[in-house]
């Protein structure tokens, strides 16, 4: 039961925040949100030794789960920092923003620490329900449209997951993901795998199910888009990792490979001509999802590279969103012109994030790609690695295009931006983490390779 502690802390502080918000003590609600996150992550450190299966198998508290939940909490904390100054500026007065973040994080933690399909489903639903609301927080026309689209497509995809569960249950009699059940290539099981994959690919935004990403990222407020881009992905990919046993079956494997190729190519190609920075980040997140999905092909063996990639990608993405939200909703690339003169530190930060997203060596982005692609290559998919590498060449273009707008294009009037102390802190923290992961990641890698 101890393993439930982090979840309980999270939900507990969420409810305290809810109550505080009731009495319009908005600042306090936020504070309890911060406290909840910190307490939960500290508890995770202590509970690391008590790994195992609890609550008759529904809660799998293993190294992967713990590390992923830690990532989720850390990134939610970063999202809090980013949202801190941003919300007042944009007029989100209510404290619910933080409460919803907490509940969403709780849902993600649930999804990550289990290998029972129904628990994954419920965790996913908690996460998505909170996300539909988060997407609509900005209260303007685009934001409404984003939340409606996300909601309807979300419901549609969850139905697939349910149908997948039904078939899985039909074949095995219970909803525990057991390696031998997953491996047998009966038609029912392949169909079950497909439907389950459909649900998860929607969340991870892999190509056939990615269509919600661009509109929702553009519509929702920047910190929320940041949250979507990383926390949802962590949850989805961990669940994927759990059921990656399905990939033994050739039909399912080719379905995923096909989707990966389409994702990598589609994501990078469309991003080339994007005018809006958030849509660009959406397509970039789609293409990165494609790279990460490649690690799934290796099953359990690719887990450590996937987790390392997720951690680096998280910092890169949230870093860029911290800068995007400092520009408070004027998101077209033309607003970025001449930023390097007006706000040198912001521009330098953004340039750094873009360079590390593109995968230039000294940064963590390169190392992540290095490990991931070499693992996938070693797994025998050299041709896939070549396709991904060439697609990532396209990504260099649109990432550097952002830098071009900031540094190499002058502009008459000054760009509109605001210096939020907390989002600056988030930015510097992410830069430090990316550099740390890029240059001295030895301890983390040893941890990942041993435990996962």
């Amino acid at each position: 039961m101890i393993a439930l502690v982090p979840l309980l802390i999270l939900v507990g502080f969420g409810i305290i925040a809810l109550v505080l918000d009731l009495f319009l003590l908005r600042w306090w609600a936020k504070l309890s949100g911060y406290a909840g996150l910190i307490a939960a992550s500290i508890s995770l450190f202590f509970l690391f030794s008590k790994r195992g299966k609890f609550l008759n198998g529904l809660l799998v508290f293993d190294a992967k789960g713990i590390y992923a939940s830690l990532l989720i909490l850390v990134f939610t904390f970063l999202v809090f920092l980013i949202a801190d100054g941003y919300d007042l500026k944009v007029g989100i007065v209510e404290g619910e923003l933080y409460i919803l973040f907490l509940f969403a994080a709780a849902g993600a933690v649930v999804m990550v620490t289990t290998s029972h399909l129904l628990v994954i489903f419920v965790g996913m639903e908690v996460l998505s329900v909170a996300s539909y609301a988060l997407a609509g927080l900005r209260k303007d026309e685009l934001s409404r449209e984003a939340s409606v689209k996300y909601a309807i497509l979300g419901v549609f995809s969850s139905v697939f997951f349910v149908f997948g569960m039904a078939l899985y249950y039909g074949e095995t009699g219970n909803l525990f993901i057991s390696p031998e059940a997953v491996a047998n290539p009966s038609p029912l099981m392949t169909a079950a795998a497909l439907f389950l994959f459909a649900g998860l690919m929607f969340k991870a935004s892999l190509v056939p199910f990615h269509i919600w990403t661009p509109d929702v990222y553009q519509g929702s407020p920047s910190p929320v888009a940041g949250f979507f881009s990383i926390v949802t992905k962590i949850a989805a990919f961990l669940a994927f990792l759990r059921i990656s046993g399905f990939l033994v079956n050739p039909a399912v494997r080719w379905f995923l490979i096909g989707s990966i190729i389409l994702t990598v190519i589609y994501g990078n190609f469309v991003a080339l001509r994007q005018k809006d920075i958030k849509r660009l980040m959406a397509y970039s997140s789609i293409s990165h999802a494609g790279y990460m999905a490649m690690a799934l092909l290796l099953g359990e063996k690719g887990g450590w590279a996937l987790l390392f990639y997720l951690s680096v990608y998280g910092f890169m993405n949230l870093g860029s969103f911290s800068v995007i939200s400092s520009l408070v909703e004027n998101n077209s690339l033309d607003d970025y012109k001449g930023l390097s003169k007006a706000a040198p530190s912001l521009a330098a930060g953004m340039a750094f994030f873009m360079i590390s997203l593109a995968g230039f060596p000294p940064t963590g982005g390169f190392l992540a790609k290095f490990f991931l692609f070499s693992e996938v290559g070693a797994g025998g998919y050299w041709w896939l690695v070549v396709i991904a590498i060439l697609a990532s060449l396209l990504s260099v273009y649109y990432y550097l295009r952002v830098v071009v707008y900031m540094y190499m294009k002058g502009r008459v009037e000054k760009p509109i931006f605001a210096y939020f102390p907390s989002s600056l802190l988030a930015m510097f923290a992410s830069i430090l983490f990316i550099l740390e992961l890029g240059i001295f990641p030895r301890t983390l890698i040893y941890f990942l390779r041993i435990f996962i």
């Binding site: 360079i355 230039f360 060596p361 000294p362 390169f366 190392l367 290095f370 692609f373 070499s374 290559g377 070693a378 050299w382 690695v385 070549v386 590498i389 060439l390 990532s392 060449l393 260099v396 273009y397 550097l400 295009r401 830098v403 071009v404 540094y407 190499m408 294009k409 990641p441 030895r442 890698i445 040893y446």
Partner: protein, 496 residues
């Protein structure tokens, strides 16, 4: 010792960030002091380097990321010379941009120092991963230098430059993945890779990937279209370092990685590469002849000169090989100087169109003198440095295959044609517009930049043994490895 040389500019750059951008003077002097100090520091290994031992010396090792991706630095003869070329040219490039760069000096000098670290790193890295890290890390400062301080079409040029080079190096990255996985206990140390047994078919594929990356960087004939744009748009110091050092990395890459690690692949591709090298010589010269802009002309001239260097390396006779390496140093000096001088002309006349320039020898006699000597050195006038390198390369290639030698030597005539044509267009004839008569003379700073280079022309031309003896043994050793003969202890016998 060598890590200090490589990383001092980086530390200086980091310190610069925290200095306010207002006092421009500080940045100019400080960056020159740093790169000057690095040059002095790099003379120490040059002296302490004992030529007889071909293996990399001054080795430094640390585990860094572990799993074979460890930090290993060392310099054998060849990398030492290229290291010196970089440390020698960097201060000159920085000094030449003192009044060329008018805005955002602080970022400019930071980028220059980062570029210097990137370049130095490539030449001394002994681990393939470290090599690749420096190889790509060096692209970013270059991207900014061309992008921010370049000419009108700078954005197009810089994106084209980065993407073109990235295309090649990404394919190489896939090769590195394969090597990382295949090599025993994941070691990427060069000398472990040399003794790696790879099946022929994969060797050919891998060689193609590596060769493409380096061929784009060199650039060899079909992959050269990024060079003229990058040069015309880059600021003077940028194009000096781009031409003098960045292009050598391609050659160095072939020499150090592509050929020794995949000898089978090289054996298959070498006839095509030789043909491409010759085409680059002739083609580069022909294109240079018809360029309107002086910098484009010099850019195409470096395509032609690098054709000679690559021919030296591909033809794989000892003389041509050593000549090719020596020519790398000469080309670095002469093309670097050419760019410096064209930059100085541009600073004064604000145009590089050769039609509008003319008769500058009258108002700028000293500058035309320096340009004359530089043109002669790059033509390969005997007695100056260019000749020694070209002579060795052509002799080596003539020995290996007569027709190759003849076509390659053709470059001697063509290079004279376009360079003298350029000299005449810029310096001789009547002054086109009266304002040019009163152009400011060469100030002391500019003279002090050019004098060391000219001294080196004569020194390397008349007494090349001083330099060649340093890297001769390493070159022979490299050749022995590349032809996969067992690494017999290096005896001081005559070369092939």
């Amino acid at each position: 010792m060598i890590s200090a040389i490589v990383f001092i500019p980086l530390f200086a750059a980091v310190i610069f960030i925290f200095v306010s951008g207002k006092n421009v003077k500080f940045f100019k002097i400080a960056s020159l002091a740093v790169s000057g100090f690095v040059f002095l520091l790099s003379i120490v290994p040059f002296i302490k380097f004992e030529a007889a031992n071909p293996l990399p010396q001054f080795q430094e090792f640390s585990h860094w990321i572990g799993f074979g991706l460890n930090y290993r630095i060392g310099a054998d003869g060849i990398s030492l010379m290229l290291l010196l070329l970089t440390t020698f040219l960097a201060p000159l490039a920085i000094a030449s941009s003192w009044n060329y760069i008018r805005e955002r000096e602080k970022e400019y000098y930071i980028m220059m120092l980062l570029l210097e670290t990137g370049m130095l790193g490539v030449f001394v890295a002994q681990n393939l991963f470290l090599f690749y890290v420096f190889w790509e890390a060096m692209l970013i400062p270059m991207y900014f230098i061309i992008g921010i301080w370049g000419g009108k079409k700078r954005v197009y040029a810089t994106l084209k430059f980065v993407l073109y080079t990235m295309f090649g190096s990404l394919l190489m990255l896939v090769g590195i993945f394969y090597l990382w996985k295949v090599s025993p206990n994941h070691s990427l140390y060069f000398y472990d890779l040399y003794s790696l047994k790879i099946s022929d078919s994969t060797q050919i594929l891998l060689f193609a990937a590596f060769a493409l990356a380096f061929a784009i960087k060199v650039p060899i004939f079909p992959f050269h279209t990024w060079l003229p744009d990058a040069h015309t748009e880059a600021p003077t110091a940028g194009s000096v370092l781009l031409a003098a050092v960045l292009l050598k990395m391609g050659g160095y890459g072939f020499l150090r990685l592509a050929i020794p690690v995949f000898p089978e692949g090289f054996r298959l591709f070498s006839p095509y590469l030789i043909v491409l090298a010759i085409i680059s010589i002739v083609y580069g010269a022909a294109m240079a002849f018809v360029q309107k802009d002086a910098k484009r002309l010099v850019a195409y001239s470096s395509v032609s000169h690098l054709g000679v260097i690559m021919l030296g390396i591909f033809i794989f006779t000892f003389k041509a090989y050593t000549g090719g390496i020596y020519q790398m140093l000469n080309h670095g000096l002469s093309t670097g100087a050419l760019f410096l001088l064209v930059g100085m002309v541009y600073e004064r006349t604000h145009t590089r169109e050769m039609e509008r320039l003319g008769g500058l020898a009258r108002p700028l006699p000293l500058l035309s003198g320096f340009l004359m000597i530089t043109v002669l050195s790059s033509i390969g006038l005997p007695g100056l440095n260019g000749f020694v390198g070209e002579f060795l390369v052509f002799m080596g290639s003539f020995e290996a295959n007569k027709t190759v030698g003849i076509f390659a030597a053709l470059g001697v005539i063509l290079s004279a044609v376009y360079l003298l044509w350029m000299f005449q267009k810029v310096m001789q004839g009547k002054v086109k517009n009266e304002a040019y008569m009163k152009l400011p003379r060469m100030n002391l700073r500019e003279i002090l930049i050019m004098v060391p280079i000219v001294i080196l022309y004569f020194w390397m031309g008349l007494y090349p043994k001083f330099f060649i003896s340093k890297f001769e043994k390493s070159a022979k050793f490299m050749m022995e490895i590349s032809s996969k003969t067992e690494i017999v202890q290096v005896i001081d016998g005559g070369g092939k």
